[in-house]
Symmetry: C2
Subunit: 153 residues, 2 copies
DNA sequence: TTGCTCCTCACGTCACGTGAGGTGGC
DNA sequence: TTGCTCCTCACGTCACGTGAGGTGGC
């Protein structure tokens, strides 16, 4: 398939595909007689791995090194401890990220709850210099999440 | 306080603080006689909001507009539906992200489990052209998570 | 022939990082 | 005077986006 279909399957732009090729992350399986890049199933698998590692927050240069590590014949077995290290590191990162996102979700939900009460609030100046947390229409339990207090002031 | 202490409290670089000023996101509360920028508690609150909105993935330009929306006297109340929209959008984003991270966590754990078995595997060429999923030392239930199959090949 | 896709430069963008060369203030 | 912090250019970087001008292939 050509770059357009390939890119859309991979969920990236054609420019991104060419950029990855430029960096040595990806290589078309062939070229048409007219010079069009041609891609197959191997490339789809490969770019999915790249996307996955990008999701983990790895810079493209490090992704390149991981893909290289597994390619070098002698390095295949040697790649195992390296991969273990990278993946364990990323597992820790994912755990921290999950926690942070959980906090963010609670803050967002809390703030949205407050805002829906603001919407129905009779107070004209509910979003004045006095923060929403001072609004008499809010019960004491409806605390404004810390980070958003400033926005609501 | 000067820019150095302010930046370290905010968890960003001094360059970032100056950049935010350049974009109109932040303004020092004053200047020393020698031209040093001076910051106070108001600025700390403000940059914490900026950091939070950045965490949500908002571009700086959009953050500027949110901070502007709440600043314009008439816009204070008008800012509510806008904020609701942005926050709801971000809540959806966070939910999708949480799900993706959960999948990623399971994939990472699964792959690490496989790798630890590879480590103890007697097969010399366990990481050869044949994927780990073909290794006779792995029970059928130890499937290599899809995304990582390529790495392990 | 017409559309659509692709090609290669090459400059632009976003959010800063990183010196270069100079100055403030204890 | 010495160190440390700050100042303003201004170029660099990362991961692409976005034309410009031209070509392939049904």
């Amino acid at each position: 398939m050509q770059i357009g279909r390939f890119a859309s399957i991979a969920g990236v732009s054609a420019r991104t595909v060419r950029y990855y090729e430029e960096l040595g992350l990806l290589k078309p399986e062939g070229h048409s007689s007219g010079g069009f890049r041609l891609y197959g199933i191997e490339n789809v698998k490969r770019i999915e791995v790249i996307n996955f590692l990008r999701e983990l927050g790895l810079p493209l240069e490090e992704i390149r090194r991981i893909l290289l590590a597994k390619a070098g014949g002698a390095g295949r077995r040697a790649a195992v401890p390296f991969l273990q290290m990278v993946l364990q590191e990323k597992l820790n990162f994912v755990d921290r990220k999950l926690e942070a996102l959980g906090r963010m979700k609670r803050e967002l939900e809390g703030t949205l709850k407050i805002l829906s009460q603001c919407e129905a609030c009779g107070h004209e100046v509910v979003l004045d210099a006095i923060s929403c947390s001072g609004c008499s229409n809010l019960t004491p339990r409806d605390d404004v999440p810390g980070t958003f207090e400033v926005i609501l002031q």
